[in-house]
Symmetry: D2
Subunit: 259 residues, 4 copies
């Protein structure tokens, strides 16, 4: 059976990425202590393609994925190496987007429930160099310092998303990234709050008013300072508040290098 993809291509145009996207697949995430969590991931797998080859072999990406279903830093390298090898490519890339669950206690009554955070892994293997980035998107509360200051009473507040992207060559706990986002915000959010908890988070947010600018800056400081962030090379913090007084979002972004 003819292998059209393997034919010579006369246009001689190098393609930076070729592969598959938007594949929903069951994947197992492994944490820093080797524990595993089954998740449903939206997967992208890519390789580059030399200018003289007509096409890549799309089915091999899925074959490699099916053989590497446990995700951590080590297995992502091995997944990317397999892609490079099977596709005869120089560079390979992967992207996994999934919901991860944090088991949280409410602040006063200690009731436990899960909070979903969105996590994205980006891996790139270029000339044997692994470039790994992890994005964690944590929902939080922000309460507006301006609204608090100028009003006789109360202040507008809202749900916000803190998106922290870390480039790293060491394992970083998702829980630790969430904690930075929650510490930098006016207050964490929870799936389950009883009335004494609700009183607490209402007052706590009012006592910690934060613009998106403040959340971005405080998250940056925490990434720079906290021991758990050792191994982070550079990073981006984005904060988006779904303003309760508008139908649009307030946004702040800061980039940084950890030294």
């Amino acid at each position: 059976m003819k292998d059209v993809q393997n034919e010579k291509d006369s246009r001689n145009i190098y393609l930076h990425q070729v592969g598959i996207r938007d594949l929903k697949y069951p994947v197992v995430i492994r944490n820093g202590e080797g524990e595993t969590y089954p998740v449903t991931a939206q997967v992208g797998l890519f390789a580059d393609l030399e200018g003289d080859q007509k096409g890549t072999h799309m089915s091999r990406f899925v074959e490699v994925l099916t053989q590497h279903n446990q995700m951590d830093l080590k297995t992502i390298r091995s997944l990317l190496e397999s892609i490079r090898e099977r596709l005869e490519a120089r560079n390979s890339f992967c992207r996994f987007l999934f919901d991860y669950y944090i088991w949280k206690k409410s602040p006063v009554t200690g009731r436990e429930s899960y909070l979903a955070v969105e996590v994205e892994y980006h891996g790139a293997l270029r000339d044997d160099e692994l470039d790994f980035r992890m994005t964690v998107r944590t929902p939080v509360t922000t309460l507006c310092p301006c609204s608090k200051e100028i009003s006789e009473y109360s202040a507008h507040n809202q749900r916000a998303i803190v998106s922290i992207t870390l480039r790293t060559d060491r394992y970083i706990w998702i829980e630790d990234v969430c904690n930075i986002a929650e510490t930098a915000a006016s207050c964490p959010v929870y799936s389950l709050l009883k009335r004494p908890d609700e009183k607490f988070v209402t007052e706590f947010a009012y006592d910690h008013p934060k613009f998106v600018e403040d959340v971005a800056r405080d998250a940056k400081l925490l990434i720079d300072e906290r021991e758990e962030m050792e191994g982070v090379q550079d990073y981006v913090v984005e904060v988006e508040s779904m303003e309760s007084i508008h139908n649009h979002s307030a946004y702040a972004k800061v980039e940084g290098v950890r030294v």
Copy 2:
């Protein structure tokens, strides 16, 4: 050229709806005074299909749409009649989803800006009877009465969407439906607020705490009472608050008949 769709179908299964969906198309909305607004609509057009006919003629839906691009109650009837005729159907259906803009003044400084609301038209022509429903989704602020009551100070508040669906045979102004949603909520939202406006909406929301249950009930009362709602037959009010202390929404729904 053979007309496969026109062939006899031996399965003899009547199809309730056949047609096209997810067509993005430019459409002109006409208001109660005959003024027109160009919008981008997501369009669905459907007809029923007798059991002995193999298929409908999908291209005719687009032809009919291209000939009926001005939308109000009268033209929707004429659009549905054309579909029924061109498709040789008993019943015809349409759905238009679009963003509509309300020109609003901020409450204190009077600064003007547009607020987008989502509008959906549902039309059905069955045996010459037009069934028309209009949904208007208005963003508002809700402020939690429980949080206000139990906390020493402040209260959690957030953006919410009030979705009002009206079955009617008379023209109802989109602006009047929005106004009901905004009146029933803790406070309206605006695209543009200066500091004196922000002070006003912060305090106004605190002075009008509302659960999603309260917003649904007050919207129901306003639909029943207000003169501008004459011609409304039955209706559904749904309220969804994107809770600022959770990562999920609070929701309330009430159905009603206007007498």
Copy 3:
């Protein structure tokens, strides 16, 4: 601490549904043989609310969910009973939306991979009567009979989604619903196909041209005939083809009662 929700409400307006939506939560699905699958679900939980009560107690929905995390027909009844009891309601409702994975073999080479299908559970408990519906959305291929007939060669084909909603009081296998969708279509889709498989599905689809109308009708026939569908009361089949020659979808819907 004051219980604002428990206060008397003078408006005396009954609310059909009050509760929480868009909660992402880990849930365990149990199949017909008692095997369990962890999934990530988008959850909605609701109860009705009497006219004289100001508000529901939102946190109790999450408490009940945390105690009922294994989903099948029996546990959904018990979840709905708990909601009704904890919220002192007459009726209770739930909705779970999740991706489920089918382990499939490619048709010629027998390579195995997962295919994601979207599943939705709708439960309602009204006056002790459980109303349970299950929707399964299966991706398939459709190949246009008209295009095949009128063209010298080839035929346009595309990915389509067959959405089958079954009302039932017996356990129905997700796999059996998918199989009906795939049998009714021009060809199933797979995550992993090698070249002999690709040749097979290309030719198979061409040998089984189907309009969305045909897929809807054939799925209806299979639901009526197949033994595995015993216990189905009524149902809706919807088919949406993401047409490869248009930027919109073709759509067909049929409703039925199984006798």
Copy 4:
């Protein structure tokens, strides 16, 4: 009234972008001949923020937008200059995402209809240097060369999106970018096709089989060669085929510099 945003910030952290996002607003697009089209845009407006200033003034972004509602290269510069001035910033940024309609004739019968394409404008003003990029996402058909080659008859085909991003300092017609995408693909798509048109596009696609890799390469060649693309500096072409035999997409990306 106190201006909290204007306070000194002791953390001394420069923020790369601060502003508003996800604002839906009516905007007027101006084409190369000065004709105007009203569209509904999803808008983002941003400025940078010095390390010693506590916050930006979010409402000014909306004020500036309301004063600059006609979008072309010149007015985007003037919008960005106004943002920089009003926000006392060094750099300013904007993003507009909207649907644009191309009036197309079907290939044989000449029937006319609109085709929606998604357009994104990205503007950045850094130290008086305007950096403008335009992305046009055109739906097309791709037909798989491998499937055609290995099968006795037919070939799988599907809708694909060709996304072309051009950095430029001259006006480029959206229509010209679409035309490149359509020329590079197996066949254009249309909203309205009669049977002779359908025969034509079915056979045309079969006569022009293209992998996503081929579409990317041919689009690149056309950007490099076509006169209408003069003024383009560098560019990215991305192609995503919503495979009809899978539930995921095939993807190719190429970057280039026009000389």
